[in-house]
Point group: C2
Chain length 181, copies 2
């Protein structure tokens, strides 16, 4: 059963689930398949030395990512600040949109280059305070791929608890906008 | 005329406007008036050494803040990543909610302690790519103060260009939740 289906079904063996996530991370992430010029994003760029390096993967028809906030990404002691939650939902959504567009165009999941999407609108609902000190799991469904526009719905879990929900509309960047690379 | 009214009226003397913003920054910011225990936020806490330190001020019935992204807060070279835009709108909104609640309760604007709000929902519309390398100006209107809930609408400008709009619903943290300080 897919990782997050197990969480939703009430499976509480989070250690085993994390081992599966670790194995997943040995595959190329969506963000590994952007051309270099698109890989500088603070949230998800593999070439940004300061950034969060969100790495996203297919799991069936859903996409998942695991992120670990740094201790200073706090709102108040013990809890993650809202901007971090919004940032990782945003970056996982842009990656998921790229993967969905690539798949819709017949591309193999583990080979690039992926197109690059930027955010049109982002909505985040904060359902419960997100604790610091544990990995956060993002899970997204692709709601629609329509031309250059993709809509993505995301859930953010800390351990098995749903802490936030997001919905983003992502727009594919025109190729003419590509940085030289 | 208030700073942002001048921008909206098409005044292009942005250097003079920045001087006024600088003078404004010599007053205490909303975030200076939180008790120490509420001042560790990555986005706006004066006690977070790693953070963005958003500082927000009244300008009549509107609130303003100026923030400068670091060079690595990029989406693609030359442009600010979406999570930064969401983060600063979020933190300026929570500060604005605190100031509005403090004012609604009869508090003087430059004396604390301010209450602490956390985000219930945040919606951001990205209207144009936000350029890196210039200060970003946030301007908010308080749409509603209702019990422990405040709704705030924000515009984010780079120079005089409107790049993003946000709307946030903020919830006042119960005093029982206060970190020991």
């Amino acid at each position: 059963m897919p990782i997050l289906a197990r969480i939703r079904a009430g499976v509480r063996d989070f250690a085993a689930i994390r081992l599966e996530v670790k194995a997943m991370h040995e595959r190329p992430a969506f963000q590994d398949l952007y051309p270099d010029g698109w890989s500088h994003c603070y949230g998800c760029g593999r070439l940004n030395d300061h950034g969060l390096r969100v790495r996203s993967f297919w799991e069936g028809d859903e996409t998942v990512a695991e992120v670990v906030p740094r201790p200073y990404h706090m709102a108040i002691p013990g809890f993650v600040y809202g901007g971090f939650v919004a940032s990782v939902i945003d970056c996982h959504s842009t990656g998921s949109a790229a993967a969905a567009a690539h798949r819709a165009n017949g591309g193999a999941p583990d080979s690039g280059p992926y197109p690059r999407f930027l955010t049109g609108t982002l909505k985040v609902e904060y359902l419960a305070p997100t604790p610091l000190g544990v990995p956060l799991l993002l899970r997204s469904r692709i709601l629609e791929v329509k031309g250059r526009k993709v809509t993505v719905a995301t859930q953010l879990f800390a351990n098995e608890k749903l802490c936030a929900k997001g919905e983003a509309i992502l727009i594919q960047v025109p190729e003419s906008f590509a940085p030289g690379s």
